[in-house]
Point group: C2
Chain length 112, copies 2
DNA sequence: GGCTGGTGCTACAGAATACGTAGCACTATC
DNA sequence: GATAGTGCTACGTATTCTGTAGCACCAGCC
C-alpha cells in the first residue's frame, strides 16, 4: 500500500515526472476518492457513517481509499477513530468548490 | 456504454439522487478521465498523440474515456478526427485550475 | 498500380481493482 | 452476560484496466 500511494515528488502511475498535478490526478482518479473528500468536508465522520454517506461503498475500497488519503496527508483519525480532513485536505476540499458550480452549469445545459 | 456514462439528472453509480456533483464524481473518478481533460486543455489532439501525452495509456481505456466524455458533452471530434473540448469541457478545465495550485501547495508541504 | 509510413481504433487475454457478504474484535449499555 | 453498535478485515466474485497485436484507412511516393 505504502508504495502505491501517489504523493507529489515521486513517479506515480501514469507519470514519471512526479509533477504534483499528476500525483493528484492519480490519487483523485481512483474510485470514491473525490466522494470521500466531499463527504468529509463538514467535519469528522466515522467509518460506518461514511460508508452510508457514500451510498454503501464496499468497506474494502473505503478502507483502501482512506488509507491512501491518510498517507497522502489529506486526512487523519482522531482518538475516537473518526476520519477528518487535515489542513491540506480542507484546502483541497475548497479547491473543489468550482467543480460544484461547474457541475450545476453542466446539468443546466445537459438535455434530460 | 450509453447507459454507463454518468450524466447529471439521472442516477449514477454511487448515487440515486442524480445530483450533478455526484455524476461529476463518477465521471471524473475513472482512471485517466481527469488526465485526458487536462491534456486537451490547449487544443485538439489526435488519438495517438493523446495516448503518448497520457504516458502511453492503453488504447482500450483511452477509447472508453473519450467515448464517455464525448457522451457527457465535454468533448467532440472534428472532421480530422482530432479530439477537443466543447465549451462545457473548457469550462470544466478552467474549474480544475485551483487543483493545479493546490497540488503545488501540497507538494511544498509533503516531505520527500 | 503497389509500397511505405502514419493515424484511428478494436480484439483479446491476463493482471489489477472493486464489489458484496460475512464476520471478528472492541466498546457501551443494559 | 446478553445486546447492539462501531471499526475494520477476509475472501470469493465481478468489473475494470493493461499490454500487445493488428486491422482499416489515408497520403506520399515511385
Amino acid at each position: 500500500m505504502a508504495a502505491g500511494t501517489p504523493v507529489p515528488g515521486r513517479p506515480v502511475r501514469g507519470s514519471q515526472s512526479g509533477r504534483p498535478i499528476m500525483a493528484a490526478f492519480d490519487l483523485l482518479g481512483r474510485r470514491w476518492a473525490l466522494r470521500v473528500l466531499w463527504e468529509l468536508r463538514d467535519g469528522p465522520v466515522g467509518f460506518r457513517a461514511l460508508q452510508e454517506r457514500c451510498d454503501d461503498v464496499s468497506p474494502t475500497v473505503l478502507s483502501a481509499r482512506l488509507a491512501e488519503l491518510r498517507e497522502a496527508g489529506l486526512l487523519w483519525q482522531d482518538e475516537s477513530k473518526a476520519h477528518q480532513l487535515t489542513a491540506t485536505g480542507r484546502d483541497l476540499s475548497r479547491s473543489l468548490k468550482p467543480l460544484l458550480a461547474w457541475s450545476e452549469r453542466w446539468a443546466a445545459e445537459t438535455p434530460r
